[in-house]
C-alpha cells in the first residue's frame, strides 16, 4: 500500500508542476508563439510502411520551412507522436496534442481506423484535422473539421474502369484479401462497377495468410471476365500476380495502389509484367509530360527527401507533404492560426498542386482530388513502371 500511496503522491506532484508550467506558458506573449503543428503517425507497428515516410516528410519540411523563416513570421513547432496504428493510442495522443501541447492544427492517422477514432474528439474540440488515411468514410459524410489528402479506392477503381471501357471491356472479376485495406477496395470495386456499366462476373476473396490462390483463379477463369481487378498489398498481391500468370495469363490484370512499390515488382519475379496498376504520380514523376503542373513539385520532393534520408520517398509520404502545405497555405490566407478561420480557408483550397494530385476542396468535398491527377495508370514493363498515356 505504501508504494501505492507514493505513486499517487508522485502523480499529484507531477500534475501540480505541470499546472504551474502551464500558467507560466500562458503568461508569455501569445503573438510570438510558434505555430504548433500536431501530428500522429503509425511510425512503428504493422502500418509503419505508411507512417514512417509520413513522419520523415513532416520533420523534413517543418525544418526546411523554419530555416526559410517560418510562416507569417512565426516559426513552426512540430509535436509528433507514434500511434503504432492503434486507435486507442491515437485517441490519447490526439487529446495530448489538443489539451497539453495546445496545437493549432492536427495532421495524422496513417490507418483509417485511427482517423475514425479521433474524429469525435477533433469535432468536439473544434480543431482542424487533416487525415492521412485512404478510407472514404473519413470524409463521407462531410464533417466540419475533418479533411484528408490521400486519394481514395473509389478513384483508383474508377480510373481502372475508365481504362477498361476504353479497351472495350465490360466484364470484370474482382480478387481481394480479407484485410481492411483489401475490403475497402473490394467494396468500391463492386459499387463503382454498377455506376460505370461494368458487370462483376466473379468476386473472389482469399485469406490474408493464404499462400496459394489457385482455386480463386480457377473460378475466375470459369466466369470468363474481360479483365481482373486485384485489391491487395504485400505478399497477397505478389501471390495474386504469380497465380494469375499460371492460370489466367490471357486475361488482363489490373491492380490498385496497394502494390505500388518496387518490392512488389521484384517479389513477383516477372509475373507482374503487363499488369496495369493505379499509382501515385510520385512513382512516375520523371515520365510525366513537362507540361504536367505536378511534375516540378514531385521531382523537388523526391530530391529533397532523397538528400535527407538516402532513399526514395514512398507515395504515402506525399500525403503528409500535402496535408502540411495545405494547412500552412490556409494559415497564410487566414492571416493567423484562428482555428475557425483556418478551417474555412482549408475548405477554400483551390488548385493546390500537391504530391498526390491537384486539390480543389469545397464544403461538400473535404478531399478535393479527382481521379485524373490523383492516380496515374502504369503498366509494368521490364520490371519498371511505365505510364499508360
Amino acid at each position: 500500500m505504501r508504494s501505492f500511496l507514493k505513486n499517487i503522491g508522485t502523480s499529484v506532484l507531477a500534475a501540480t508542476l505541470a499546472a504551474g508550467g502551464l500558467l507560466a506558458a500562458t503568461g508569455a506573449s501569445a503573438q510570438q508563439r510558434p505555430i504548433r503543428i500536431g501530428a500522429f503517425t503509425a511510425t512503428t507497428g504493422g502500418a509503419s510502411f505508411l507512417g514512417d515516410p509520413q513522419e520523415k516528410t513532416l520533420r523534413l519540411y517543418v525544418d526546411k520551412i523554419n530555416k526559410a523563416g517560418g510562416v507569417l513570421g512565426r516559426k513552426l513547432e512540430l509535436f509528433i507522436y507514434d500511434s503504432a496504428g492503434d486507435a486507442r493510442q491515437a485517441v490519447t495522443y490526439t487529446r495530448r496534442l489538443i489539451e497539453d501541447n495546445e496545437v493549432d492544427i492536427i495532421i495524422g492517422g496513417s490507418a483509417t481506423g485511427e482517423s475514425m477514432a479521433v474524429i469525435p474528439i477533433v469535432e468536439e474540440a473544434q480543431i482542424p484535422f487533416i487525415s492521412l488515411s485512404g478510407g472514404n468514410v473519413v470524409v463521407e459524410p462531410v464533417r466540419k473539421w475533418v479533411f484528408k489528402t490521400p486519394g481514395s479506392d473509389r478513384m483508383a477503381v474508377s480510373k481502372i474502369y475508365t481504362d477498361m471501357k476504353a479497351r472495350g471491356f465490360s466484364k470484370a472479376a474482382v480478387i481481394s484479401g480479407d484485410g481492411g485495406f483489401d475490403k475497402s477496395c473490394q467494396k468500391e470495386a463492386v459499387t463503382v462497377a454498377k455506376t460505370m456499366g461494368i458487370a462483376i462476373v466473379a468476386d473472389e476473396v482469399y485469406a490474408q495468410a493464404d499462400t496459394d490462390m489457385t482455386p480463386q483463379f480457377t473460378r475466375i477463369a470459369g466466369a470468363k471476365p474481360d479483365a481482373i481487378v486485384g485489391c491487395g498489398f504485400g505478399l497477397g498481391g505478389v501471390i495474386t500476380v504469380r497465380n494469375h500468370r499460371q492460370i489466367t495469363p490471357q486475361i488482363p490484370l489490373y491492380f490498385t495502389h496497394g502494390v505500388g512499390s518496387q518490392q512488389f515488382v521484384e517479389g513477383a519475379r516477372g509475373a507482374a509484367e503487363n499488369v496495369r496498376i493505379t499509382v501515385s504520380p510520385l512513382l512516375v514523376a520523371e515520365q510525366l509530360d513537362d507540361s504536367d503542373p505536378q511534375k516540378k513539385t514531385l521531382l523537388e520532393y523526391t530530391k529533397e527527401y532523397q538528400e535527407k534520408f538516402g532513399e526514395k520517398p514512398a507515395a504515402f509520404g506525399g500525403f503528409s507533404y500535402d496535408a502540411l502545405h495545405i494547412a500552412l497555405a490556409a494559415m497564410q490566407r487566414a492571416g493567423g492560426t484562428d482555428k475557425a478561420k483556418v478551417r474555412d480557408e482549408i475548405e477554400r483550397t483551390k488548385n493546390f498542386i500537391g504530391i498526390d494530385g491537384i486539390f480543389n476542396m469545397s464544403p461538400t468535398d473535404h478531399m478535393g482530388l479527382d481521379f485524373n491527377t490523383a492516380f496515374r495508370l502504369t503498366e509494368i514493363k521490364n520490371n519498371g513502371w511505365h505510364l499508360v498515356k
Binding site: R2, S3, A15, T44, R88, M116, P120, K183, S184
Partner: protein, 333 residues
C-alpha cells in the same frame, strides 16, 4: 487475515479520495483521459489477478472479454438503440456466459494447455470482430454513442473518467472482500497445489469456474466503459497483444496483489506517454525498464516493496518479529 480488513477498508477510502481529487489537480482533460485508461486497465488486471495471482491460472485471452464488453455496448447502443447501462449488463451476461461454458470445458486443462485454450478463444473473438463488417465495422472499428444514465446525457472525458473511477473502486472493494473470504482462501489453496486443495475437499472445478467468470465480467465492464469513454472501438482492443499487455501488467505490479494490479496497470499505461519524447528510443527504454523491474523485483513491484518495508520494520523491532510471512507468490502457469 481478518485483521487486515480495516486497513484495507482505509486503503479503499484513500483510493476513492485520490480518484475524486484527481480531476481537481489534473491541468487538462488529457490527464483525465490517461487516468481513465489506467483505471480501466486496472479493473481488468484486478479480475485477471484473481484468476492468475490467486488461483494460479494463466489467461492469454482476457482482452477478448474486454472486447466483448466494448462491442456489446457499441453494437447494442448504436445499432439496436438500447440504453448504455442495459447494454453494459448485456455485455457482462454474454462474457459471463462465454466464460462459464469455456471454464466447464477448458479449466480442466492445466498450465500451458489452459493458456493455449484462452489464447485460441482470444484469436477467435478477434477474427469475428474483424470479419463481421456489417455488425462491427471490421478492422476500421465503429463509433459508440455517449453514455447516458436515465436520459441524462453525459459529456466529455469527465464522464468517462467518473465511470472508470467508480468501476475501479468497486472492483477493488469486491476483490478484497473476495480474497478474504472462504472462496479466496480456497483459490489460494488451488494456486499453491491443486492436489492438496482437492485433498482438503475443495471443489476445484467449481472455484476455478467461478473465478474465471468473475474475471471475465471485470474485463467486460471495463470494455463497456472504455467504449463510451473513447466513443470508438476497434478490433485491436480484443487482440492478442492486448491480452499479453494485461498479463504483463499484473506480473510487473505483483501477482496475487490487488494494489499490484493497479500499480502495474498505471505504470504500463503511463510509460508510453512518459517516454513519448524519446522518439525511436521509446521501445528500447520501455523494454529496459520492464527488464530491470523483473530482475530486481521478480515478485512484482508491490510485493517486493511490501517485503522490504516489513524487513525494515523488523530491523527496528529486534524483540518482536513480524508474524506475517513475506513470500512473494508466483504463478504456476
Amino acid at each position: 487475515m481478518t485483521s487486515d480488513t480495516p486497513r484495507q477498508l482505509i486503503a479503499c477510502a484513500v483510493l476513492a479520495t485520490a480518484l475524486a481529487l484527481l480531476p481537481i489537480v489534473a491541468p487538462n482533460p488529457y490527464y483525465l483521459d490517461l487516468a481513465t485508461k489506467a483505471c480501466l486497465a486496472a479493473v481488468v488486471c484486478i479480475g485477471l489477478n484473481l484468476l492468475s495471482g490467486y488461483a494460479g491460472q494463466l489467461s492469454l485471452g482476457h482482452a477478448a472479454f474486454f472486447g466483448v464488453g466494448a462491442y456489446a455496448s457499441a453494437i447494442l447502443c448504436a445499432k439496436v438503440g438500447i440504453t448504455p447501462v442495459v447494454a453494459m449488463l448485456a455485455g457482462c451476461l454474454i462474457s459471463a456466459g462465454i466464460a462459464y461454458v469455456m471454464a466447464r470445458t477448458v479449466l480442466r486443462l492445466k498450465g500451458h494447455y489452459l493458456a493455449m485454450a484462452t489464447l485460441a478463444f482470444g484469436v477467435i473473438i478477434s477474427i469475428v470482430l474483424n470479419r463481421e463488417v456489417a455488425l462491427t465495422g471490421g478492422p476500421d472499428g465503429m463509433s459508440v454513442p455517449r453514455f447516458n444514465l436515465f436520459g441524462y446525457r453525459t459529456t466529455g472525458v469527465w464522464a468517462g473518467y467518473g465511470l472508470a473511477a467508480v468501476a475501479l473502486v468497486l472492483a477493488v472493494r469486491t476483490a478484497i472482500v473476495f480474497v478474504n473470504s472462504r472462496v479466496g482462501r480456497a483459490l489460494r489453496a488451488i494456486g499453491d497445489s491443486e492436489v492438496a486443495a482437492e485433498g482438503l475437499g475443495i471443489d476445484i472445478a467449481r472455484y476455478k469456474t467461478g473465478v474465471f467468470v468473475i474475471s471475465a465480467v471485470f474485463a467486460s465492464v471495463a470494455g463497456s466503459i472504455f467504449a463510451h469513454a473513447d466513443r470508438f472501438v476497434s478490433p485491436a482492443e480484443a487482440g492478442f497483444m492486448r491480452s499479453v499487455e494485461f498479463v504483463a501488467m499484473i506480473v510487473i505490479g505483483g501477482l496475487g496483489s490487488v494494489a499490484g494490479s493497479i500499480v502495474g496497470a498505471t505504470l504500463l499505461t503511463l510509460l508510453p506517454q512518459l517516454l513519448a519524447g524519446f522518439d525511436h528510443y521509446r521501445h528500447f527504454l520501455t523494454g529496459l525498464i520492464l527488464i530491470l523491474i523483473m530482475i530486481f523485483m521478480p515478485a512484482g513491484i508491490v510485493p517486493t516493496l511490501l517485503a522490504s518495508g516489513r524487513a525494515l520494520h523488523d530491523r527496528y523491532r529486534p524483540f518482536g518479529r513480524s508474524a506475517r510471512s513475506v513470500t512473494g507468490r508466483t504463478s504456476e502457469g
